[in-house]
Amino acid sequence: MSLKNELREYIINIGLKKRVPDGFSDDYKLIEEEALDSMAFLSLITHLEENYQIELGEEDITPENFASINVLAKFVESRLA
């Protein structure tokens, strides 16, 4: 499974179905549309840290890095490189 698809699946599974339209695009604005509440956000961060062994710092937690699936995937790739 591609990184984008894995992230999409995770985001859907953490209980965002009610707030994210079905089949949302990889450019769907997760932060701007308030699709991620604090609990979902923390779950996502924990998932990134545990599944991709990325250690995130305070400076990484910006709306820009989590703006959409596309942006988030790029961010994760940059940290894995």
Binding site: G15, S38, M39, L42, T46, E58, T62, P63
Partner: protein, 289 residues
Amino acid sequence: MLLRLSSVIPYGPGSSLLSFLFRSKVFRKLFCRPRAEWVRGFLDAVESKVDTEAAISQSLVSCKAVAWRLTAISRADDESKKKWVHVDGSQHLENAYREKKRLIVIGSHQGMARFVPQLMSHMGYPIHALAVGNFYNGLDLPEWKRISILQLGESSFFAKDVFVALKAIKSGKVFHMMADGVQGKAALEFPLVDRRRGFTKSYAELALLSGAEVIPVFTRIELSGLIKVIFCQPLDNGTEEMTTEDRVSLMVRQYVSLLSDEYRQDPASVHLSHIRKFLNYPRAEKDGD
């Protein structure tokens, strides 16, 4: 300046002086008429049997000269601290912290609530406290120099605050926050005594994500100045079979039930700003209505 001058007054004599002042009918009539009306209304609302005049005096103790109290108790010797600060339930803290090293302590706006992080730091716990405003900035408290502070609202991105809190808990710090705040999003509604209001759920969410226990703490203060700190048993966080939403709701419901008991048992310790808000909340529907 006033705080600096008053900080040389030891806790015992200072408390006696304030107690004398706050008992005085003349003082209360001159300076505290609106407060007295609010407290009277509140005692009626929670159907409290405590003496009204004593409650008004105690209400003043809860809210006035807090900065002086924090400073004076910090400077007091061990014997005075033992005399003026009674702690119940510290074994709940010890057990929870020893077992998991992941702990959230939730306070409420009553009594000497601001004293709790200072007390726990004095007890040897590494503390990360959520703070609103700059109350502690001007205070010379050695305990606070050891406490990390998460200033709520300082970050423009909501997720940064919760991320910092999560990291602090996972690193073994005891995270302290207020659970009955009226700022920000009130996420879950439960009846507080007989009124309906929203409560934050962030501590419950943080607890489930980090695997931390949540311990409520109540801090009464008597007219004499005696501070009683009561650490409760950890909140029941449900089972793995339950949904996260249900587990969060279970925890917040337990806290609100404890807070309701506290409102009934010691109404005079509830801070005036919360008394005023309480009296303006809509009545909760009774079961079966």
